[in-house]
Symmetry: C3
Amino acid sequence: MTEYVFEFIRQIRFVEIIEFIGTFAFAISGVRGAATKKCDWFGAFVLGFVTAVGGGTFRDLLLGMTPFWMLNSIYLWCTFFSLLFYIFLREHLNQLNSFFFWSDSIGLGLFVVVGAEKAMLLGYDTWVIVVMGTITAVFGGIIRDILLNKVPRIFKREIYASPCIVGGIFFVILQVFNFNLPFISAITIGIVVLLRFVAVRWDLQIPKLKSEKTL
Amino acid sequence: MTEYVFEFIRQIRFVEIIEFIGTFAFAISGVRGAATKKCDWFGAFVLGFVTAVGGGTFRDLLLGMTPFWMLNSIYLWCTFFSLLFYIFLREHLNQLNSFFFWSDSIGLGLFVVVGAEKAMLLGYDTWVIVVMGTITAVFGGIIRDILLNKVPRIFKREIYASPCIVGGIFFVILQVFNFNLPFISAITIGIVVLLRFVAVRWDLQIPKLKSEKTL
Amino acid sequence: MTEYVFEFIRQIRFVEIIEFIGTFAFAISGVRGAATKKCDWFGAFVLGFVTAVGGGTFRDLLLGMTPFWMLNSIYLWCTFFSLLFYIFLREHLNQLNSFFFWSDSIGLGLFVVVGAEKAMLLGYDTWVIVVMGTITAVFGGIIRDILLNKVPRIFKREIYASPCIVGGIFFVILQVFNFNLPFISAITIGIVVLLRFVAVRWDLQIPKLKSEKTL
C-alpha cells in the first residue's frame, strides 16, 4: 500500500504541481467573486471551476479538441478543495493575498505555455500561438466577470493580459534557437511573472480610451 | 392523406412528446424573461430558443458533435409556438404556473437523461456523464440570465442544479445493474422531478457563501 | 519588388475589399462601445475583434470548422487599424456616421452571404442556412453587448436581424433558379442593405413584448 502511494507521488511531475497551484489560485478568485454576489455553494463551485478551466476550454473548442478537463477529474477536485478552503478559511484569506498573487501569476505563466504549446503542436501560425496562450490565461477571468454581471476587469484596469502576450511572444522567439521545451517554458513563465509583478508594483496602466463627445 | 398523418402520429415516440413539452416550457421561461426587459419579438424568440437549446448546444460543442437542433427544425418551431402562446395568452399565464412548473421539471429530468446518455455512449468517465447531464439541463437558463444582464439565478437562489446532479448520479449507478435504458431514464426523470418538487415545496436552499470583510 | 506589390494588389478580389471594410466597421462599433465603458486599449482591441469576428467564430464552432480568423491574420490587423483610427480620429468620427452606417450595412449583408454559403456547402437544411447567415451577421454585436454588460441592443430596439433573415431567405430561394454565386451574393447584400436603410429611415420597429402583470 505504502509503496503505491510512494510510486504515485514519485510520478507527479513538477509541472503538475504548478498546474494544481495555478488552478487552485484561479478557482479561489472565482469563488471570491461568487461571494461578492452572495452566491450559494453551487454557484461558487461553478464560478470557481469556470474561472479555472474556462480559458483552456475555449482554447480547446477553437482548436477543435476535447476540452482538457473532460479527460482528468483533477480540475474538478481542485475546484472542490478551493471551495472548502474558502468556506473554512475565509477569515484568513486576506493574510494570504500575497500567496495568491504569486500563485495566480505563476498559473498565468503556465497557462500561457500550455496554450501556446498546444497551438504550436497543431502547426498554427506564430500569431495564433500567442493568441492561444493569452486566451488560455485570461479567458476564464473574462467569463467569471460576465457571470458576475460586470464588465471584465481585464478590459479596464489591470495589466494582466499584456504580460501573457509578451510571454507568448518570447515563447515563440525562443523556439527559433532550439532550446528544449522545459527551458523555454520556465523562461516564459518567469517573464510573465516578472512583468505582472512590475505592473502591479508600480501600478502601470494601459492608456484608457477617451469617448467621443456624443455617441 | 389521412393515413399519412395517422402514420406520422403513430411514429411519434413518447419521449418526443416529453421533449416537446420540456422544450416548450424552457422556451416560455426565456420569452418571459425577455418580456421583463421589454424586448421585441425577435429578441424574445432568440431568448426562448437559447433557453431551450442552449444547454444541449454547449454539451454538443464540448463533446465535439453537431448541435442537435441543427439536425431537426422542431426546436425552432417549438420556440415559435411558445412565442405565439405568450403573445396571445399572456394574461392567462399566471393561472398556468403550476403547469409550467411541472413541464419545466419534467423537461429538466429529460434533459439530464439525454445529456448523460450522449456522454455515456461516447465512453466518457462517470463524472463527465453527470456533468454533461447537468450542463444540458441548466446551461440554457444560465445563458438566458447572461443575456438578460443578470447574475444567473441558479447561482443564487434556487435548488435547480442539485436535482440534476443527483439524477445524473442515479443514472450512472442504475447502469451498473443492467436495467434497460427506458427504465433507467424514467427513474432518473422521476428523481429529478421529485427532488425539485421537494426543494420548492419546503423552500430548501443551498447555504450561501459569506464574503470576506474586505476584498 | 514593385511588381510583387502590384501582383499582390491585383490578386485582391473585390469581395475581400468589402469584407475588409465590413470588418473595419464592425470593429469600430466594438471600440466605440469600449470607449463608453472607459476600457483601456487592450479592452478596446478585444471588444473590436470580438465584434468583428464573433459571429463567424460561433458559426464555425457550430459547423465544426476551424474559426476563420485563425487561418488569416488580416482580421487581427483590421481590428488593430480600427483601434488606431479611433484613437487618432475620434473627434471626427461623428462626421463619419453615415460612412459607418453604410459600411456596417454592407458588412452585414456580406456576412450573411458568407455564413449562408458555408452552411450550404456543408449540405445543411434550408433553415439552417438562413440561421447561420444571421448568426454570422449579428452574433458579434450580441457578444459585444454582453461584454459591455448590457442587454443586447438587437433584442430591444433596432431592426437589425430581420434584414439578415430576409436576405438569407432570398439567398436560399435564388439558389433554386441556378443563378451563379456572385450574382446571388450581390442581390442578397443589396436586399440586406436596402431593408436596413428602410428600417432606419422610417424608424420601423418590431413590436415589443408586453409583460405579464405579475411575474
